[in-house]
């Protein structure tokens, strides 16, 4: 995973609550053999007027004009703003894969579904929980004439808005460490590389038949 560095990005305001994983990436796209390439089908049912299937040329499909992802102002947005219980439903990891593939690195809501919240960290996305009032304010600012940009500083656990306001956020110290160092579960395990090697050395003595092909 890439190290999560301080960045400034455009906020895309998705004014909906209870966005479930089937809305994030509908089930017909799960047959894919890839973990990338889900971006064009992120929020497929909301984003396009027709029914999406794998293998379609998405650039040719009719867009839902008033869906926020299609608004020219929010192209290239990397911060998604939404309402409570974001990511509920199935545990599919395709949901964070789709968000990431589209370019979202941070999701700000008043609350997330549990498994989705964990899956975000596994895939290098930072989910931020803010109180409903602050989220309301951010919606007002992001939906205005001016595009709202926010600077995300994980190190200091701060968001800095274009309006110069600083908002503190919580993040579990261990998760923070992993994001900053770019560690996923595999990265973490590989920190114990020497333990694994030592174990293998010992086992090769004790049970050599478990190694190599005889």
């Amino acid at each position: 995973m890439e190290k999560f560095e301080k960045f400034t990005g455009v906020v895309c305001p998705l004014d909906r609550a209870n966005v479930d994983t089937d809305a994030i990436i509908p089930k017909q796209f799960l047959k894919s053999i890839k973990r990338t390439g889900f971006g064009p089908n992120l929020f497929d049912e909301w984003r396009y007027l027709d029914h999406g299937e794998p293998g379609m040329d998405n650039s040719q499909r009719p867009l839902t004009p008033d869906f926020v992802l299609n608004d020219p102002r929010y192209q290239g947005a990397s911060i998604l703003l939404a309402r409570e219980n974001f990511g509920c439903g199935s545990s599919r990891e395709h949901a964070p894969w789709a968000l990431l593939d589209h370019g979202f690195k941070v999701i700000i809501t008043p609350g997330f579904a549990d498994i989705f919240f964990n899956n975000c960290f596994k895939n290098g996305i930072l989910p931020i929980v803010l109180d409903a009032e602050t989220v309301d304010e951010l919606f007002r600012e992001a939906g205005g004439e001016q595009v709202q940009r926010i600077t995300v500083d994980v190190e200091n656990q701060r968001l800095i808005t274009d309006y110069g306001r600083e908002i503190a956020f919580e993040v579990d110290p261990f998760r923070k460490h992993c994001l900053l160092e770019g560690l996923d579960d595999i990265g973490l395990t590989l920190q114990h590389l020497n333990d694994i090697r030592t174990y293998e050395q010992r086992r090769m003595q004790e049970a050599p038949w478990l190694f190599g092909i005889h």
Partner: protein, 468 residues
């Protein structure tokens, strides 16, 4: 020294490190790979620029999507074809031994692994498939994992795990004639329920279990997951060692002697304490037939379809009512008056040579009944198929009116072209009778291979022991 269970021994031998909260890093000796759950794992490695930790620990074969009819034309469904081709490509790129679709050793991953001697006693074995529990038959710690974990194993040869509790299931004394491994495990699930093993690793023991061949033990361990346990295993004895001996990937010469000495320790100590013990008398087990949409919905063949009114609580009663409706059955109907449309002999539960021999013994000199639209025999691997043909089993099946197919998962989960039409009723030797498992709207009854043939030739369920 405190007495240890087999589970303790297997766990401790693979412990790389343990965190204060009990989270462990467990070393994995063997990783089996198939086409459905591996593509994103390989892609993850590629995206992160990671290497495979130990290519020789992996073995792959496509099974879920492969056609069981003539393969020279390739795979018709593009999604299936891409998955299989992706597996070929990934194995080549990462240097993994793969038995491809056209290799005589190809087959269901859980049949191929043991057959090649790639599963050895005392190993930890994982695969992105829940029926990996099969390999517990070798006194191994084996369980299924998800795609993220597949990637984790590919990259680190380890798994992050917490230890389960230990359960002992004792099948006391011998089973009666005509009662098979499948009947034993269905009876166990009927007794403890599909959640009975949740949070446990199960050791199967007792005379009925130790009397089973390795094939039979694999059938029992295969379905440990249907009892809710991620892993189920059997202690090592001479049969285990005899089975492994001389197989392509088994150790040879001095290494073999050294291995055998170590394997003899792979059993629970005399006074080991289990968190839970369940005992069933082997003599009480009859040939089993499932009637509902969960493997625990099972009764002896001589019984009747149960009545929701007799359920212990309302939740159970409601579940039974829904199951009866889905299955198109009436409470109180004798099991022997249920008439199937199709018969499927195969799957990682019951597609090994012994299963085919048992099935052929019943099929010999008989004919598939007129009301059966299709009866399939799908061997577990190319080598099983070849062996069966050497023994003339294919001719027995074909003469009786069965179709003799190429190896794969086939109608166990209907990912290839073999599937039920809505409302069709199937007698199946597989392991899951969930709604839609064998095709949308399809109805599945799980039985042993001998019982499946008995139903095929009479046109309804029948106690195989009553056929003369």
């Amino acid at each position: 020294m405190t007495a240890k269970t087999l589970y303790d021994k297997l766990w401790e031998a693979h412990l790389v490190r343990e965190e204060p909260d009990g989270t462990c890093l467990l070393y994995i000796d063997r990783h089996l790979v198939h086409e459905v759950t591996s593509p994103q794992a390989f892609e993850g490695l590629r995206l992160a620029g990671r290497k495979l930790w130990r290519p020789d620990a992996n073995m792959a074969t496509p099974d879920h999507n492969v056609p069981t009819t003539d393969r020279s034309a390739g795979i018709a469904d593009p999604v299936s074809r891409i998955q299989v081709e992706t597996l070929d490509h990934n194995c080549e790129e990462f240097g993994i031994t793969e038995f491809r679709m056209d290799d005589p050793r190809q087959g269901i991953v859980h049949v191929v692994g043991p057959e090649q001697g790639a599963i050895l006693p005392g190993m930890t074995v994982v695969c992105g498939d829940s029926h990996t529990s099969t390999h517990g038959a070798f006194g191994a710690l084996a369980h299924g994992v998800g795609t993220s974990e597949v990637e984790h194993v590919l990259a680190t040869q380890c798994l992050i795990q917490k230890k389960s509790k230990a359960m002992q299931v004792v099948i006391d004394g011998p089973v009666g004639p005509g009662v098979t491994a499948k009947d034993i495990v269905l009876a166990i699930i009927g007794e403890i329920g599909t959640a009975g093993g949740t949070g446990y690793a199960i050791e199967f023991i007792g005379q009925s279990i130790m009397d089973l061949s390795m094939e039979g033990r694999m059938t029992v361990c295969n379905m440990a997951i249907e009892a809710g346990a991620r892993a189920g295993f059997v202690a090592v004895d001479e049969k285990t060692i005899e089975y492994v001996k001389g197989r392509p990937y088994a150790p040879k010469g001095k290494l073999w002697d050294q291995a055998v000495a170590a394997w003899c320790e792979l059993r629970s100590d005399e006074c080991a304490v289990f968190d839970k013990v369940v005992t069933i008398r082997g003599a009480d087990i009859q040939p089993q037939v499932t009637w509902g949409v969960s493997p625990e919905m099972v009764v002896p063949v001589g019984a009747r379809v149960p009545d929701p009114a007799d359920a212990p609580d309302v939740v159970k009663a409601e579940g039974m009512r829904r199951a009866l409706e889905y299955m198109g059955l009436k409470a109180g109907t004798p099991i022997t008056e249920i008439y199937p449309d199709r018969v499927f002999i195969g799957s990682c539960t019951n597609s090994r040579i012994e299963d085919l021999r048992a099935a052929a013994a019943v099929a010999k000199g008989r004919k598939v009944a007129d009301n059966i639209k299709q009866a399939l025999v799908v061997p577990g691997s190319g080598l099983v198929k070849h062996q069966a043909e050497e023994e003339g089993l294919d001719r027995i099946f074909i003469e009786a009116g069965f179709e003799w197919r190429e190896p794969g998962c086939s109608m166990c989960l209907a990912m290839n072209a073999d599937r039920l039409a809505p409302g069709e009723r199937c007698v199946s030797t597989s392991n899951r009778n969930f709604e839609g498992r064998q095709g949308p709207g399809g109805r599945t009854h799980l039985v042993s291979p001998a019982m499946a043939v008995a139903a095929a030739v009479t046109g309804h369920f029948v106690d195989v022991r009553e056929l003369d």
